[in-house]
């Protein structure tokens, strides 16, 4: 990206003396990014090729860490959970966010108030949301959700303590957190729809469904694309939600890629293996980003 401001002639002449200045302004940001982003990344890639032994010196093992991580069945399970959670939270969050946006679109004051309240999960720290949901999911019939289920004649469910339901319960919380965020983006997309199209459609006597299908959806397609991309990338690296809510349990039923890497690195002190796992995740993230950007650019060109 280049500066769009045309440089006046007198500025161009003095550019030699002032060419150091931009770097002076950039220095703090570059220094911090190098020290705390790029250097750790490089170090991670480097460490993933070693058996890391404190005080004994690291031992070069080549791609051993990678084969070990990729053939570990707990990591293989984690891949499945990560994909399921990522896809579930992304799609669920978009569906609920879209529904919310359709419901809360409008200018009236009361609608704005409702939107403000509905947006609360987004500004709340994930750790706090996790504690809140643990209480909502309280496993006996006294818990809030179980209490509500009781009214419908359904028995208490052990949401987080049962390996069969824990992952779905985590997914529900993820959707709850991401839907209002998606709502805001989709609302911005909806605001850009040409109102006269709705009017023209009404004159032609189209149904509400057709109106949504042929006017609204195409108009907010770019917004949906962005929401989906962001959600997919966030889904891959899901950590705090799972770590706070279930810690990966029960019986590893909610273990995701990052919680597994965390356990490997910090509890088991297998820095090499954990680094290899992180590098794999990094590669998948970058691949996903590049692919999505490619398709989006192609879509824009059309």
């Amino acid at each position: 990206m280049t500066a769009t401001t045309p440089a006046p002639a007198h500025r161009a002449r003095r550019i030699g003396t002032r060419s150091v200045l931009p770097w002076l302004f950039l220095a703090p940001a570059l220094l911090l990014a190098l020290l705390f982003k790029f250097w750790p990344m490089a170090k991670g890639i480097w460490l993933s090729l070693f058996k890391v032994r404190p005080f004994l010196g690291d031992q070069w093992v080549g791609l051993d860490n990678y084969t070990r991580v990729l053939s570990d069945h707990r990591f293989q399970d984690a891949v499945g959970h990560t994909l399921l959670l990522g896809i579930g939270i992304s799609l669920g969050g978009i569906l609920v966010g879209f529904a919310l946006a359709l419901l809360l679109e409008g200018q009236s004051r009361s609608l704005k108030l409702v939107r403000t309240a509905v947006f609360l999960p987004v500004v709340t720290a994930t750790a706090v949301v996790g504690e809140l949901w643990r209480l909502l999911y309280y496993p006996t019939s006294d818990g809030v959700i179980n209490h509500a289920l009781g009214f419908l004649g359904l028995g208490p469910t052990q949401f987080l303590d049962n390996p069969g339901t824990a992952l779905w319960s985590t997914m529900a919380m993820g959707i709850w957190m991401s839907a209002p965020y998606n709502m805001v983006i989709i609302l911005a997309g909806l605001a850009g729809v040409d109102r006269s199209l709705y009017e023209a459609a009404a004159m032609d006597g189209v149904s509400l469904w057709q109106r949504l299908r042929y006017i609204t959806l195409p108009a907010i397609r770019p917004a949906l694309g962005i929401v989906l991309t962001l959600a997919a990338i966030r889904g891959l690296r899901v950590f705090t939600e799972v770590y706070v809510l279930t810690g990966g349990g029960p019986a590893g039923s909610t273990e995701v890629w990052m919680t597994r890497a965390y356990t490997l690195g910090f509890t088991r002190n297998d820095i090499g293996g954990a680094s290899a796992a992180s590098v794999v995740l990094l590669c998948v993230t970058l691949l996903l980003t590049v692919t999505v950007n490619y398709f989006r650019k192609r879509g824009d060109a059309r």
Binding site: A29, G106, A117, L120, P121, A179, V184, I185, A274, L282
Partner: protein
């Protein structure tokens, strides 16, 4: 993820509002929304109110359980409701004994320091990127965008090693607030946001100031920065929410649990067998209130920022 570059001047919320206001004058109100909601009482109107109540019940009402539980006497699962039973401040007293205010102070120091650093660093970088032309500009831009694509989680393990022994200077930042503050300093998102905004400031203003003999630093401080106030607001709120939400970074930057931030410290309260869920909820309230205040005061900036970042990305 491409750069969610932001331009709050042309943020969709503002033009969209004026556009639909204009549309309202020429087209009937029932074409204002995709679903064609009616504003007059009727079946659809009642249905909308019902659905809004359900949405509130699902997304906002659960927060009342935190407050109700925090102020209740001995709440277990059964006592949870939306109003406190036998209101009391006992939970906060116990939480205080467990050092919740120390964690809270940690959080405040970190949030304040990291936000200041983040804004200062971003303003400087954005000024160079938006108002100067230099070799390697595109490369630098790509580097900053890369920092956004690089998930914190992915570099967590090597970062914890780096924090224990910073290259070149060889400092040990673990257990200090700097271990959390410094890694949050360079946030690509905020740099992009301010860069986009600064690009739209007319060159004429800068030229006029230069003719008056204003130097680079005064130019930034006295000419450009005051014009950037709306963008600084957006960057500030989004930055605060992002910093307050940090979990893994304070965890790996700590030497022992006393270094935790209040959000991370909730896990200590939860696993403490001697305190009930009321105390945990008191802690949750303390961790929740700052973000709540920031959000309610500056919610327009936040929502504008998210919407603009997405649609322009």
């Amino acid at each position: 993820m491409s750069a969610p570059a932001i331009d709050p001047v042309r943020a969709p919320a503002t033009p969209a509002r004026t556009k639909s206001a204009k549309a309202a004058r020429t087209t009937p109100a029932r074409f204002d929304t995709a679903l064609g909601w009616s504003e007059r009482p009727g079946v659809a109107w009642a249905l909308r109110i019902l659905l809004c109540l359900i949405a509130l019940g699902v997304f906002a009402v659960p927060f009342l359980t935190i407050f109700a539980g925090a102020f209740s006497t001995n709440p277990s699962g059964s006592d949870l409701s939306f109003l406190p039973h036998h209101p009391t401040l006992l939970n906060f007293k116990v939480a205080n004994e467990r050092g919740i205010w120390d964690y809270f102070t940690n959080s405040l120091v970190i949030a304040g320091g990291a936000l200041l650093l983040q804004l200062a660093v971003s303003v400087l970088a954005a000024y160079a990127l938006a108002r100067h032309r230099f070799r390697g500009q595109a490369l630098i831009m790509t580097l900053f965008m890369l920092t956004m694509m690089l998930p914190e989680e992915v570099i967590a393990i090597p970062l914890s090693l780096v924090l224990g022994h910073v290259p070149v200077v060889g400092l040990d930042l673990k257990g200090t607030v700097w271990g959390v503050i410094l890694p949050l300093g360079a946030w690509g998102f905020s740099i992009m946001l301010l860069t986009e905004f600064m690009k739209d400031i007319p060159v004429e203003i800068e030229e006029a100031a230069r003719l008056d003999g204003v130097g680079e630093f005064r130019m930034l401080w006295q000419v450009i920065l005051p014009l950037c106030r709306p963008a600084l607001g957006v960057a500030g709120v989004l930055g605060f929410v992002m910093i307050w939400d940090q979990y893994l970074l304070p965890l790996i930057a700590s030497k022992d649990p006393t270094d935790y931030t209040v959000t991370v410290a909730l896990s200590i309260l939860r696993t403490d067998p001697e305190v009930g869920s009321g105390v945990l909820l008191a802690g949750a309230v303390i961790a929740l209130v700052p973000s709540l205040i920031v959000y309610l005061l500056l919610q327009r900036s936040l929502v504008t920022g998210i919407a603009a970042g997405a649609t322009k990305g």
